[in-house]
Amino acid sequence: AGEVEVGVLFSQTGGLSIVEKSLADATLMAIEEINAAGGVNGMTIKPLVEDGASDPKTFNEKASKLAIRDRVPTVFGCYTSASRKAVLPVFEKRNSMLFYPTYYEGFECSKNVVYTGAVPNQQLSNFIPWMMETLGKKKIFIVGSNYIYPREMAKVSKILIEQNGGEWVADEYLELGHSEWGAMVSKIKASGCDAVLSNVVGDSVISFYREFRNQGLSHDEIPICATVTSEIEIAAMGAEFAAGSYTSFPYFQAIDSPENKSFIERYRSFVGDPSAVTHHAMESSYFQVFLWKQAVEQAGEASPDAIRAAIGGQTFDAPNGKVTVDPENLHTHLTPRIAQWGEDGQGTIIDAYPEPVEPMPYVAYGETPENMFCTVAGLDSSKL
C-alpha cells in the first residue's frame, strides 16, 4: 500500500541525451519491473522524471526541485561528472541520496551518493597488465578528452604502466566534443608507440576511430585500448572501424549469461527498439534501482539515513554478475572485463577478473585495500 517517490534525473534533451536517455530508460524499466513484482515493501515506486538538458545549471536546478520541493529521498541520475558535481551540494546539504550509475574518475566520497559505476582501478587494474603481458605492448600513447575523468585515468594508467615495466610515450588531450583528429592521429603515428590507451569520451570517439583508420593505422599493429568506448559508439561509428580494438568495462552486451540475455531482451521490448544496444552505465542504472530496493526493504523505510545505513553490503545478481555495495565507501564491487570488438559490432570477452574487484576511488592517491580513505560518513581526510 502507498507510494514511494524517487527522482530520475538525466538529460532528455541536448547533446548528452543520446546516452542519458538510455540510462533513464533503464532506470524506468527497473522501476516498472519492481512495481510489477509488488513494489518495495508493498509500496509502488513513483518516478519523478526531470530533464537536466545537458547543462549543469539545469541539473542543479532540477536536483533542488526534486530534493527540496518534491522531497524525494532518493534520486537516480546524472551521467557526466560535471552534472554530478553541480548537484552534489544539493544532496549533501539537504541530506538526500543520489544513485550515480556512471564509471567516473574517483576522488569523491560523499555520504549522499551511492556509486554503482566503475572507478579507475576497476577498469585499469587488469587492463594495463593485460596490455603489457598478453598483448605485449610496452609503449603506450595515452589520449583523452580534456576533462577530469580522462586525466585521472591517465594518472592511474601511468602508475600501472610503470609498475608493469612499460612506458608511456605521450599523454594528450582534445577538447570534449571535438571531432577534428587529423593532427592527433598523425602524432600517434609519429610517436613510435605500439598501443593507444584511449580515454576519449562521447561523439569524439567516432571521429577518432575513423581518422585512425583513414590515416592507414590498423588495430593489428597499434591497437586502441579504450576505457570508454562502448556499444553505443561502436554501433555509431560503423563496426569495421573498431574491429580488432579493445575496451575494458565491467559490463558488455556480449556477456554470455541467461541474466544478460533476458536483460537485453526486456530492455529492447521496453524501449520498443529491437536493435537497441546495452552498455555499462546503462546496466548500472538498471541494477542500482534493485540495490536501492533491497536497502529500503531491509531498513523498512526510505529515508536517506536509513538507506545509507542499509545499502552497504547489499548484493545483487546483475546482468554483469554479482555486484556488491561496499559498506566502507558506498562504491560498488564490479568485475572488470576486457572485450575485443568484432566486425559485427559486438565484443568478444577475452579476459575477465575471476571475481568482483573492490572499488578504490582514491587509488591514484595511494589508496589501498588496507588503507581506505572513503567511509560511509564521507572522506576521512586524516588518512590522506
Binding site: 547533446g15 571531432s179 577534428e180 587529423g182 593532427a183 567516432i206 571521429s207 575513423r210 590515416q215 554501433a235
Partner: protein, 297 residues
C-alpha cells in the same frame, strides 16, 4: 612537414566548406543564419538516410543533400528570413530559434516519436555514414601517405568554391544578388525581383550546407547537435575574411586552418584552438572589416 601542411589544408577545406554557404547567406544577404549548422546536420542525415533507405553511396548523396537542404533553406527564407532582411541581429535571434526547433525535430524524428513511430537512422542516437572503400584507402605521393577521403573533401570544396565564384561574379544572377544586398529598394526599382533572387540565393547557400553535411558525415558523428559547433567557426572565417568577399573567405579559411594544423602538431589541439581564437580577435582589431573589404567614404 608535408603531412603537417596536408593536415592544415584539410582543416582549411572543412572550414571553407562550412563558411562557403555562410559567406553567401551572410556575406551576400546580411543574414546571420545560426541554423546553418542545422542545415549541415540535415544534409548529413540525408546522407545517412539515403544510405539506409535508397542504398545510395556518398557520391550520390551529395546532390540529394544539396536539394534537401536547399529546399529547407527555401522554406526558411519564405517563412522567417523574408520578414527580417535588414535586421541583421534579428536574423541571428530568429534563426537561433529555428536551430533549436530543427535539432529537436530531428531528435523527435520529426515529432513522430510522439506517436511511437520510429524512423531508422534518425532520432537521438549517434549515426554515421558509410564511406565507399575507394575513398578510405590512403595513397602515397612521393613517399608521403595521403588520405583519400580528405583529398576528396579538398577537391569537392575547391569545385564548389569555383562554382560559387562563377555564380556570384560572372553571372547576372550574381550581380542581382550583390545589388540586393547593398540596397534592396533601389535594386527593386531597377527591376530586380528581390524576393525571387533572395530566395534563390538563400536556397543555394543552404544547399552548400547540405553538401558540407554529407562530407562531414564521412568522418564525424552524425547527431542532432553536430552542426551547432561548426557554425561559429564558419562565422569567424567569414568575418575574418571580410564579409561579402569570397576571396577573403577562402584565404581566411586557408590561414586559420593552417594555423590550427601547425600549432596542433607543435603544441596541442587545445592550445591551437585558443591560438586561432586569439588570431581572429587580433585580425578584427587590426582590420575591423576583415582582411578583404571595400571601404566607401
Amino acid at each position: 612537414m608535408t603531412e603537417t601542411l596536408f593536415i592544415g589544408l584539410s582543416l582549411s577545406s572543412i572550414l571553407l566548406l562550412i563558411a562557403l554557404g555562410l559567406s553567401i547567406t551572410y556575406g551576400a544577404m546580411g543574414v546571420i543564419n545560426m541554423a546553418h549548422g542545422e542545415l549541415v546536420m540535415i544534409g548529413a542525415y540525408t546522407g545517412v538516410l539515403s544510405g539506409i533507405y535508397l542504398n545510395l553511396n556518398l557520391l550520390f548523396a551529395l546532390p540529394l543533400a544539396f536539394m534537401v537542404s536547399a529546399l529547407l533553406g527555401l522554406a526558411l527564407e519564405r517563412l522567417v528570413i523574408r520578414r527580417l532582411y535588414g535586421r541583421i541581429i534579428d536574423t541571428l535571434l530568429a534563426t537561433w530559434g529555428v536551430a533549436i526547433v530543427l535539432q529537436q525535430l530531428i531528435r523527435l524524428e520529426f515529432g513522430l516519436s510522439f506517436f511511437g513511430i520510429h524512423v531508422d537512422g534518425l532520432g537521438p542516437g549517434l549515426q554515421s555514414m558509410d564511406v565507399p572503400s575507394f575513398l578510405t584507402q590512403p595513397f602515397e605521393i612521393a613517399g608521403v601517405p595521403i588520405q583519400t577521403y580528405r583529398s576528396f573533401i579538398i577537391l569537392v570544396t575547391l569545385l564548389l568554391t569555383l562554382l560559387t565564384w562563377f555564380l556570384m561574379y560572372r553571372t547576372s544572377m550574381g550581380v542581382q544578388v550583390r545589388a540586393i544586398m547593398r540596397n534592396p529598394q533601389i535594386a527593386a526599382a531597377c527591376g530586380i525581383d528581390v524576393r525571387r533572387v533572395s530566395a534563390f540565393t538563400f536556397a543555394y547557400g543552404s544547399g552548400l550546407a547540405g553538401v558540407a553535411g554529407v562530407l562531414l558525415a564521412g568522418f564525424k558523428t552524425v547527431m542532432p547537435e553536430m552542426g551547432a559547433s561548426t557554425v561559429v567557426d564558419g562565422f569567424l572565417v567569414v568575418v575574418v575574411g571580410g564579409v561579402g568577399s569570397l576571396l577573403g573567405t577562402v584565404l581566411a579559411s586557408a590561414m586559420l586552418g593552417q594555423i590550427n594544423g601547425v600549432f596542433a602538431i607543435l603544441t596541442n589541439d587545445i592550445l591551437a584552438r585558443a591560438i586561432v581564437f586569439g588570431v581572429v580577435i587580433a585580425i578584427i582589431l587590426w582590420r575591423p572589416r576583415g582582411l578583404f573589404s571595400f571601404r566607401s567614404r
